[in-house]
Symmetry: C2
DNA sequence: GTCTATAGATAGATAGAC
DNA sequence: GTCTATCTATCTATAGAC
């Protein structure tokens, strides 16, 4: 077994299981995100790694399991980001805004993740359903939202009758749509929702929307 | 040429161009929505119509053009619904709520449309880009939003600095996500966003969110 | 307009030597 | 663990008779 830091042998091939697996996952992520599950080609993935198609089957078993592994790793990244979030010191309004921005930023920075989730929905979430890893991954964001909501509702600051799951759906909707439907929206309405110059505008808009909804005066109207 | 009302001949085959085209489009819509572009099978589409594969190529030219035709028809349906919308007699708040509900109801009733749009985004909206029909279809909803926004902003009722395209994106986000991401969201968070018993809840939530955003008190906070 | 039959290309997956 | 070669199935698309 070669050490992790040892460079690949001069022939260009790899002799490190973990590294080979990781490289396959990297390329597979790109290829699945690019072309969809059925559109992705195992040959193409193999060609773009420093290993061969045989190794993909050796390590993952098949195309289906490879896609599941790709999904698991992508979800792991956002779950980790959620776990690192610290909003304990903020008031409920600032805390919710911070959380919304985390989702906004992550979706913006990981369009491949958005496409993988989209593809998984086309296939009825069957890979998630079959993954023990994803089942026990949980959602740190939900726990955070739950705590903020409680605090805000107790103090009377938040007037909306909403729970953590629905609020998470509301925040995700905006962040997800913006990236996922970028192409059809742009083609039909002539506006690129992901253009850099508009990022701050939409980031603010999302926070304004969520806060307005949570704190709206429900005695009037 | 047989007349439109004449029933199909006893052998089960059709001899009416318009009807054959329509039947192919119906089945193709289902098949593309079910399996994605690359997952869809031309053989499967042919088998489920009363015509043959040869006729699909005869009428549409190929799989790619068939998908474009399917998209064109699906977008046509929602554009027609938007055109039938009459909110001239309503005040801006009620009018926006009505428009949001139209989008909500349409997306809920047409999950196939949502899947087709999703699939088209995976493919970078290339079929929309290549369709003159879709290019000149416009968006009646945008015109309606534009008029409502003007009226609401003039009267001082709407305080948000937002234009019609962005508001349309906000409304569509929520309606689209709820249907499009139903499977992954349900698998990960244990909540079915499209369950019948929750429909009114989300329909109200959408309206509340949009109105709260548009009318929020922006002098405070 | 409709049929059967098939061309032509390519996919996922595996055998078996090293 | 890695390689080359290949099997088997299947897909889009078309030829050509009627």
């Amino acid at each position: 077994m070669t050490s992790v830091d040892e460079p690949a042998p001069p022939n260009g091939r790899i002799r490190d299981a973990a590294r080979t697996r990781a490289e396959i996952l990297d390329v597979a992520t790109q290829e699945f995100a690019r072309a969809g599950y059925d559109g992705a080609r195992v040959d193409e993935i193999a060609a773009r790694t420093r290993t061969t198609k045989r190794m993909i089957y050796y390590y993952f078993g098949g195309k289906e399991q490879l896609f599941t592994a790709v999904l698991e790793r992508s979800y792991g990244v956002i779950r980790e980001a959620e776990q690192r979030l610290d909003v304990e010191h903020l008031d409920p309004v600032a805390a919710i805004r911070r959380l919304a921005e985390l989702t906004f930023d992550h979706h913006e920075r990981h369009p491949d993740f958005i496409r993988l989730v989209t593809i998984e929905n086309i296939h009825g979430a069957e890979h998630i359903a079959g993954s023990a890893k994803l089942a026990k991954m949980g959602s740190p964001a939900l726990d955070v939202i739950r705590r903020i909501l409680e605090s805000g509702q107790e103090s009377g600051l938040f007037t909306a009758d909403v729970d953590a799951v629905d609020l998470h759906a509301m925040i995700s909707s905006f962040c997800f749509f913006r990236v996922a439907n970028r192409h059809t929206f742009g083609a039909l309405f002539g506006r690129d929702l992901v253009e850099t110059g508009r990022r701050e505008h939409y980031r603010t808009m999302l926070g304004d929307m969520v806060i307005a909804y949570l704190t709206a005066d429900r005695t009037a109207g």
